[in-house]
């Protein structure tokens, strides 16, 4: 599903450049649950953003679902964001002005879905995550774990093929983290959703079926 060939990324710094990723080769199959690990500043987030089409590599080739990404039009990328890719962020990034229900509904609005279908999808997911009672609360009325749950629900509601999660449990304590990881595991095994997460925790990594270690911009 994801194939990286000699992917590099550098940022201009002063007169030189700061090479964050160097010739990364990587492939992830449909249905995998991959954990990316490595020291701080090693380029994990950068790699995840490139895979999630939020950032472009400086060099190399990237195939997403066998399509060469650099040839995709802006429209097609937007399409992929709407239908195939879901994101979960360390800082949750819920929209503060929207309720739980409305936050989860938002991705569907960009898909031009009928209101009846939206309702049933959101209802299903609220049900599944056991947060029906919270649906009218605003993000700041929830605990961190609950917010991340909503974040995942929001990533899932559009039924993506793959979820990219950047330290999804970074702001949570271990028992909450465990819950989230179990949820990921379930989504991966039951629904067959590909999951790529960045984590610093060895325990979290055990939930997945593969670990990719990065150091200094290289896969080791």
């Amino acid at each position: 599903m994801i194939q990286l060939h000699r992917i590099s990324k550098y940022y201009p710094v002063g007169f030189g450049k700061n090479e964050v990723l160097k010739d990364v080769d990587l492939s992830i199959q449909e249905g995998e649950f991959v954990s990316i690990m490595g020291p701080s500043g090693s380029g994990k987030s950068t790699l995840l953003h490139i895979m999630g089409l939020l950032e472009e590599p400086s060099a190399g080739e990237y195939l997403f679902q066998y399509d060469p990404v650099h040839k995709l039009s802006e429209k097609k990328r937007t399409e992929l964001h709407r239908n195939s890719i879901g994101f979960v962020f360390q800082a949750y990034h819920l929209i503060d002005e929207l309720t739980v229900y409305e936050n989860i509904e938002t991705p569907l609005l960009y898909k031009n879905m009928s209101s009846a279908e939206r309702k049933s999808r959101v209802a299903d997911i609220l049900d599944r995550f056991n947060i029906v009672a919270k649906k009218d609360l605003f993000p700041n009325q929830l605990s961190g774990g609950q917010q991340q749950l909503v974040g995942i629900a929001r990533a899932l509601v559009a039924e993506p093929r793959v979820i990219f999660a950047d330290e999804p449990t970074g702001n949570l304590h271990s028992s909450q983290a465990k819950e989230i990881m179990e949820l990921f595991k379930e989504l991966n095994t039951k629904d067959g959703i590909t999951i790529v997460q960045v984590t610093h925790s060895d325990i979290n990594a055990t939930f997945g079926n593969r670990v990719i270690n990065i150091a200094d911009g290289k896969v080791v």
């Binding site: 987030s45 953003h49 999630g52 939020l54 950032e55 802006e74 937007t78 399409e79 992929l80 964001h81 709407r82 239908n83 890719i85 994101f87 962020f89 800082a91 990034h93 819920l94 929209i95 503060d96 002005e97 929207l98 409305e102 509904e105 938002t106 991705p107 609005l109 960009y110 898909k111 559009a158 950047d166």
Partner: protein, 819 residues
């Protein structure tokens, strides 16, 4: 989706009450001002729109050119032009004349009202017109027939407003007989028409009378071939549909040669004719006619329009500044939405929509605000704009469009700015306040304050000039002068009775009769030349016919010779008193003794010899807009030659004296209502337009300051909010309150200082242009800049200090924890 946007927008508004309030109030005030000024401008532009063939109507204008090359433009012509031009020039379909005697502005109406009660009241703005008048100006009649309303020499046509005042129902006026008395004499006229006066026009008439009454009838009849002198008629033409102004104007010099050359040679000046289209009359500010309604320059409308635009822009700037300043807060939302597949377009739509929503709310508030302040605004501008006019659908729709446009304008920059955020950067937590945004924000604050500072300096300069106008020595006593207009034959012929009656009153310094006084236009003039010169060398002098008491009563200062006296038989024949400007005009040196010098006027080859008996110090017979010109007084011995009685009193209890005066008047003139005016009020009327400009600039300047400060307040509130942690840390490290206040205010004050530097030359230029309309004026001095700068800094400083001090006094532990 739309619903989602609206919810986000609405909840955003509610969550940030301070910012929302600043945004909405700023925009609402800006919009309300804008709408008020738009109404004002529409009102000015609506003059003379009611006449169906208005595009074919022209007013005859004349440049009077002296041999010296001096040129003076006017819109009054000699009597015979109207008909001679119509018969000579085929392009002219109809011509008509209009006359109003400004010296006899009050005309007495004696009539029986709807309750059968005898009434007598003075009416103003009555015009004598030719019977063809309504053939040129097709006023809408609500009663009577315009075709023959003035064919009847005893006809009288009233405005609907006047007819309503007299008979409560305007239609009832038709056929009523009114006895009309003025210096034309006493006539019984029958109301033959009532016209709709709901729309503005440059004539501003309350009633029309046929030009077949009193001396004017005689004058018109006997003056059918004099094409040079007696320029006192407004002459209008209606051209044929296919005729053009250009082709007609080409023929005018030929007309002058053929008809007027002979008279012009005799009188010693030349005439050049031109045509003023009806729709331009109201905007021909160089037309100085106190027969028509006051004109304005289009420049003035442009200035008001720009003030309106500026106020709105200042409101929009607040919006943009606060929106971009707060963008960090919205950045996460942008990032998330983009990662979900929101396109840039969708985000732009969302944010513009949001700002439209805000302007929409602001629009609602603005309409309510406008309706509330409309009476004040009318008071300020001297207009009569009604609530109904505001609620007119055309106006409302255009205002709505205006506010939508405002929404787009205010929202576009933040929308593009926000939608440009790259999700990765946002999600990585990079601060999104980039330099270009900060630079722009600072630029906008500077721009706001430039406008504000210009308005402060303008207000100050105007204020000083107005003070100067009020306090400048005029060369005569403006105060404690009461004017009684002598409008009817009876009062005129009995002026000596009232003079006698008041002479013994100890409160009265002087009672006098005069043709004109400072405060009304001095119409009389003639051209004087010295012994040994000819009429070609003549200089124009204003001329006022007065009695032996007037100059003393007015309090002009005698420099040489004597004032008029009944002891000298020659005074009524040849004596002349002139001012210093007159002495100079005649070619004498300042202070040179001219008593006994002979001067001459020539009228159709007949020379009149006069002798200078006195010189008075220069004084301002008219406003300080005008230079002091040569002026002369002549002695009028006949008591019925005066239009006004001037009473100079020595009491400060004017009200008490007026009560005595009224009873005296009623005893002497029982059939005439008592009316009076204060000379100072009449004189100050010259400045009413300036006064209005002053108030408008004051009011809108203040509003500009308020909106700008609102915005500044919001920005500071925001930046202190952002820096709470920094402030906390600094305090823990030992910074004092003053140091923190300085830290927070310094950046903004620098911007205000920059604005001052840029604004001063701009304001200097603008105000100098304004001052150039005055012949006598103040200089813009350095201390005015200092005052302006201090005011701007003070206002900005106060705005800043509230937030900064609040932040500085905050408990440091709290502010560190807050992060």
């Amino acid at each position: 989706m739309l619903f989602n946007y609206i919810i986000v927008a609405w909840r955003n508004l509610r969550r940030n009450k301070l910012f929302s309030a600043i945004n909405i109030m700023g925009l609402a005030i800006g919009l309300a001002c804008c709408m008020a000024l738009v109404l004002y401008i529409f009102n000015e532009l609506s003059y003379d729109k009611q006449f169906k063939k208005g595009d074919q109507i022209y007013l005859l204008g004349t440049d009077f050119i002296r041999t010296s090359g001096d040129k003076e433009s006017g819109v009054s012509s000699s009597a015979p032009f109207a008909y001679a031009m119509k018969s000579e020039l085929p392009a002219i379909a109809q011509s008509t004349r209009l006359f109003r005697d400004p010296a006899s502005d009050k005309i007495l109406f004696r009539y029986t009202n709807q309750n059968n009660v005898q009434q007598s009241v003075f009416q103003q703005r009555g015009f004598y017109v030719d019977s063809t008048f309504f053939d040129v100006f097709d006023y809408k009649f609500i009663a009577g027939n315009p075709q023959n309303a003035l064919q009847n020499p005893q006809g009288l046509v009233l405005s609907a407003t006047l007819a309503k005042n007299l008979y409560s129902n305007p239609v009832n006026a038709l056929g009523k007989v009114i006895e009309v008395e003025s210096n034309m004499g006493k006539y019984s006229l029958t109301v033959t028409g009532v016209f709709d006066d709901s729309q503005l026009n440059h004539i501003g008439a309350n009633f029309f009378m046929p030009m077949t009454m009193g001396w004017i009838a005689e004058f018109v009849r006997s003056n059918q071939v004099e094409f040079a002198a007696n320029n006192m008629f407004m002459t209008y033409f209606r051209l044929h549909e296919n005729a053009t102004r250009e082709s007609l104007e080409k023929l005018l010099p030929g007309f002058i040669e053929k008809y007027a050359r002979k008279d012009l040679t005799v009188i010693g000046f030349d005439k050049r004719l031109f045509l003023i289209p009806l729709k331009e009359i109201h905007f021909s500010a160089d037309i100085k006619s106190n027969i028509l309604t006051p004109t304005i320059t289009k420049k003035y409308l442009y200035i008001l329009g720009s003030i309106a635009a500026f106020l709105l822009v200042i409101g929009c700037i607040n919006f943009m500044n606060l929106a971009t300043a707060r963008s960090a807060k919205r950045a996460a939302e942008v990032g998330v939405r983009k990662s979900m597949g929101a396109t840039k377009g969708a985000l732009i739509k969302q944010f513009i929509g949001e700002s439209m929503m805000i302007t929409f709310i602001a629009f609602g508030i603005a309409v309510v605000l406008l309706i509330c302040v409309l009476p004040l605004f009318n008071n300020l501008t001297g207009k009569q704009i009604s609530v109904l006019q505001v609620l007119d659908w055309k106006i409302l729709v255009s205002f709505l469009l205006l506010s939508l446009l405002t929404g787009v304008l205010a929202g576009s920059y933040p929308a593009f700015y926000l939608s440009m955020f790259k999700p990765v950067e946002v999600l990585k937590g990079k601060v999104v306040n980039n330099y270009s945004a900060i630079f722009l924000r600072k630029g906008l604050v500077v721009f706001q304050f430039i406008i504000t500072i210009c308005l402060i300096l303008a207000a100050l300069v105007i204020q000083m000039q107005m003070k100067y106008l009020q306090e400048a020595p005029l060369g005569f006593n403006k105060d404690q002068q009461i004017i009684l207009p002598l409008q009817t034959e009876y009062t005129r012929s009995h002026i000596n009775v009232i003079k006698e009656a008041l002479r013994n009153n100890s409160q009265v310094e002087q009672v006098a009769g005069t043709q004109f006084y400072p405060g009304v236009t001095n119409f009389g003039d003639f051209a004087l030349f010295n012994e040994g010169q000819t009429v070609k060398d003549a200089k124009k002098f204003s001329r006022n016919w007065v009695d032996e008491n007037f100059l003393e009563g007015l309090g002009v200062k005698l420099l040489q010779g004597r004032l008029f006296s009944t002891q000298y038989k020659t005074d009524s024949l040849t004596s002349l008193v002139i001012n210093e400007a007159g002495v100079r005009a005649l070619g004498y040196k300042q202070g040179e003794n001219v008593i006994g010098k002979k001067v001459y006027a020539e009228w159709h080859g007949e020379r009149e010899q006069m002798e200078i008996v006195g010189v008075v110090k220069d004084f301002h017979f008219t406003s300080l807009h005008e230079k002091i010109e040569p002026f002369s007084f002549r002695f009028e011995p006949n008591s019925d030659g005066y239009n006004y009685c001037l009473i100079h009193v020595n009491t400060t209890d004017i009200q008490g004296f007026l009560r005595t005066l009224e009873s005296t008047w009623n005893r002497i003139y029982p059939m005439e209502p008592f009316t009076y005016s204060m000379l100072s009020d009449d004189f100050n009327r010259y400045y009413s337009a300036d006064q209005r400009t002053a108030s408008i600039v004051n009011v809108f300047g203040t509003i500009a300051i308020v909106i700008s400060c609102l915005g500044l307040f919001g920005l500071v509130a925001f930046s202190t909010q952002q820096r709470t942690k920094e402030i906390g840390i600094r305090k823990v490290l030992g910074a004092s309150v003053t140091q923190i206040v300085t830290l927070l205010s310094r950046d903004f004050l620098k911007l205000v200082v920059l604005a001052i530097v840029i604004a001063c030359p701009l304001a200097y230029w603008a105000m100098n242009t304004w001052l150039n309309d005055f012949a006598y004026k103040i200089k813009i001095e350095w201390w005015m800049y200092v005052v302006t700068a201090v005011v701007a800094l003070l206002v900005a400083g106060l705005t800043l200090s509230y937030q900064s001090i609040k932040a500085a006094l905050l408990n440091p532990v709290k502010s560190i924890k807050a992060e």
